[in-house]
């Protein structure tokens, strides 16, 4: 889905959720939706502070929190102590590079293992696969001794 269409939906769903559509929120969502590297609040802020005059880290944190509550963005599971976000809402899986930390989307259909879990009293809402390893970039530079 192209970016402009995503932004249309964003405006619509945000209003439905009772959120005001401010320039800051548009900028934050646009940045998140146009990237596929699942940035943290800090990383989003770093990209935006030069483009958008007078945006603050606090607003990025608060916006991400609001959008998450409204179901417009989701958190990405990680091993680190920072929260990362994704504007892609369709169920999908991730490949995490153990060298550079980059997170890539992967599209692998999952046979949802709901049946077995349901028997045991667990209600499954969503499943995602996490794969760890070295990514394209890092694999190719291994022989150079780079880190």
């Amino acid at each position: 889905m192209e970016l402009e269409r995503k932004l249309e939906l964003f405006r619509k769903k945000a209003k439905e959720a009772g959120l005001k559509v401010t320039p800051q929120r548009i900028a934050i969502y646009r940045e998140l939706a146009s990237r596929s590297d699942h940035p943290s609040a800090e990383e989003l802020f770093e990209s935006l502070k030069d483009k958008i005059e007078g945006i603050s880290l606090t607003t990025v944190y608060r916006t991400l929190s609001s959008l998450e509550k409204a179901g417009l963005v989701v958190r990405v599971p990680t091993l680190k102590d920072k929260v990362h976000y994704d504007a892609k809402l369709e169920p999908h899986s991730h490949f995490v590079c153990v060298k550079c930390g980059a997170i890539y989307d992967i599209d692998i259909p999952l046979k949802q293992p709901s049946a077995k879990l349901s028997e045991e009293g667990f209600e499954v809402l969503n499943c995602t696969l996490l794969c760890y390893g070295t990514c394209r970039n890092c694999s190719s530079t291994v022989t150079n001794g780079q880190k």
Copy 2:
């Protein structure tokens, strides 16, 4: 594998990694290995501070970090901004309760999707499935209006 056997292996592997086997490290590893709820450093410290005289939160953090480097424990992927650990090294998957935050081990064999990723230059080391939903306890209390 029973706990005492795990502790044997722990002593052996710790020494091989050049780590001294101190009472604190044994206590921390024993606590982690005997639980299946994937505690954070803080949670481990809370359990240990009454049992082990004079253990500090700093030591828990440092020990988990050392054991992770030595490959004796692993981090668990989560959505939160706290790091959780697991002494179970065999590949396995997790069910995360969105209500109470508990993490359960689940044993679902994964067809490793290495082939497709390898073609694209990714080297897969490990894969784990993450399922979200409501757990046994939380599902059963829903009708009571409890949170």
